[in-house]
Symmetry: C2
Subunit: 355 residues, 2 copies
DNA sequence: TTGAAAGCGCTACCAA
DNA sequence: TTGGTAGCGCTTTCAA
């Protein structure tokens, strides 16, 4: 036996502040590493006495299993990869927070990466996560094509798409019902008396297209014709996005005759830019033009004109994505892709309220 | 040689969509895994011819080294742990984004966890990251004591504190010069003509104490006496933090005789609450009371009254933290702890500008 | 310049 | 109920 006192002491002396291993506990207790391993994983076929001794020693030595060694054998890394276009964007920050909360205490760690809205960078980040053998991926994608998802599928790693989806790609998806978002925001403007309703749309993503579709549906339902000149895009370059893009787009809209009396915006930053353009032009909100945004993620109550916004419940999206991810890793074999849609909710504030 | 077509095909068939290993490449090429390993790591003592063949085959098979196996031997996981109190807070979101950008392309992945401002949860999250053997930790801590850092030190894992620091703990730190923040915001109010300047302070953290100290210094420098009743705290419960806390604190301040004519706030959400309280009381900003916040992270330009704020350059803090973390992992042995302070910058807007 | 052997810390499998 | 043996995929060491 090698657990002679001297040997143990010497080993410890040599291994200095190296972490405790199963072997150390086994030697201390005169057992085999296999027994320790079984105790650690709650295996049933271990004597109660042995069990207690091992657990006690583990606690004393503050034993922490080595994830790398475990992963090497089991093939599971107990990591989840999350890819978002922008961590600063409150929507994605909230989603990340909710996912983080959703997996807490389950033994998983969350590796978060940002694609900075760059499809190429996103592919690199995904490749890195695949190389790390994450157990499952959650992706809010900035891709234009479906190709990179094929590559994930080849690797046999399950993934959940959030926020943005792709036509013809049967994948797991969690997001908001974007057409409902569009209908809800637009119908509210109609109900508040607007008739010449414009839409500032987002980039070529499923979310932007869905909201625009909902906008058209709401107009149609009210018997209002869709006028192409009332739908404007924001630029796609970084700086045109958000408030500056909304500002420019609105200046265009203000030049229309007759002028729109309501604007439904793809998101809140765009709506902020729109409101500024309207106020700069000396017009009143909502009397001359009512404004509705989407996201409800800003300090909307404190704005010059508090902004009405369609809330997409980002916390629920994160929570559902976490649940789905956990379900996928513990599922054996492939599961049929599922889609879960969160219902939007209208938060009415001064920017649209005409009494 | 074993790279007869049939053999290769058969092996592949057996290993289905299992990832390619060095062994596979070695067998294909009639080499040993050692050679493959050396090529992968750019070892010099490999023949140019062999090198090329290996590299070519790696690319063909899309070989990805197994991190777990590598970590098991080298002890390095190529992961960085980041612990923040709240991912939704724009300051921490910006820091996370900047750290993420700062380590990009260096082979590291970032595991992000949130402590939800809960010291106990923070300890659990740190324990989990230590168990995962991250190479280095970056922590914006919600601790009251220094104990948990001792535990990290025992493990011999380097760490960087950001934002909040601890007296008597010689640790690596990156943050803003909080006294300068306090002096800058307060001096600006003085310069704009305020004399009865109040301060709404934050919780018992180094940042809040530092900013309060700076506030006092600025008053002293201008020969203005510090009046204790003009310094108020926000509640420490979740809901009292931020805007609601600022609102309540300001109501207290408005009851003072004589009434303050300027308020320096610990952060922007508090300043928002303060402004609302002032406007609700029928007073004007900045004519009756000027307001200054800290952080400059909100859509301050779009507020009812655009908010003057002391910018703490969170992107720079994140960048420096990333640099420091990378330096620590590649340093051999222990390094003397360093402190890096970012200079704040005043962003003047309408809430304080009296011409 | 190349590779055989050993082993990182752990788990799977099967025998005792 | 317990443990011996083998081996996960890779790097390290040292010999050829």
């Amino acid at each position: 036996m090698s657990n002679v006192p001297g040997g143990g002491e010497k080993r410890k002396a040599v291994r200095r502040n190296a972490p405790v291993r199963m072997k150390d506990i086994a030697q201390d207790l005169g057992l085999s590493t296999v027994t320790i391993s079984k105790v650690l994983r709650g295996h049933s076929d271990i004597g109660e006495e042995t069990r207690k001794r091992v657990l006690k020693r583990m606690k004393e030595l503050n034993y922490q299993p080595n994830f790398a060694a475990r992963a090497l054998i089991t093939g599971r890394t107990w990591t989840i990869g999350l890819v978002v276009p922008d961590l600063l964007h409150p929507f994605f920050a909230q989603v990340a927070k909710a996912i983080s909360a959703g997996i807490r205490g389950q033994g998983y760690s969350l590796i978060i990466t940002s694609s900075e809205e760059d499809p190429e960078l996103e592919q690199q980040e995904i490749a890195q996560l695949l190389a790390r053998r994450v157990d499952v991926l959650v992706i809010a994608s900035a891709q234009w094509t479906v190709e990179s998802f094929r590559r994930i599928e080849e690797r046999g790693i399950p993934y959940v798409l959030i926020d943005r989806r792709f036509a013809g790609l049967p994948a797991n998806f969690v997001g908001v019902d974007d057409e409902a978002v569009g209908r809800m925001g637009t119908a509210h403007l109609i109900q508040q008396g607007s008739r010449r309703i414009a839409h500032i749309r987002g980039p070529e993503t499923s979310t932007a297209l869905g909201r625009m579709e909902g906008y058209k549906q709401a107009l149609a339902a009210a018997g209002i014709a869709v006028r192409p000149e009332r739908i404007v895009s924001i630029g796609s370059s970084g700086d045109d996005r958000g408030a500056p893009g909304g500002y420019e787009a609105t200046k265009t809209l203000l030049g229309l005759k007759p002028r729109p009396d309501g604007i439904f915006c793809f998101n809140d930053p765009i709506a902020l830019g729109a409101m500024r353009a309207i106020l700069d032009a000396g017009l009143r909100i909502p009397e001359d033009i009512a404004v509705v945004g989407c996201g409800n993620v800003l300090y909307s109550d404190f704005l010059r004109v508090p902004l009405t916004s369609v809330d997409q419940d980002s916390a629920a999206i994160g929570r559902l994505a976490a649940e789905m991810a956990l379900r996928l890793v513990s599922a054996k074999g492939t599961v049929r892709p599922r889609t879960e849609l969160v219902s939007p909710r209208l938060v009415v504030r001064a920017s649209s309220l005409r009494k």
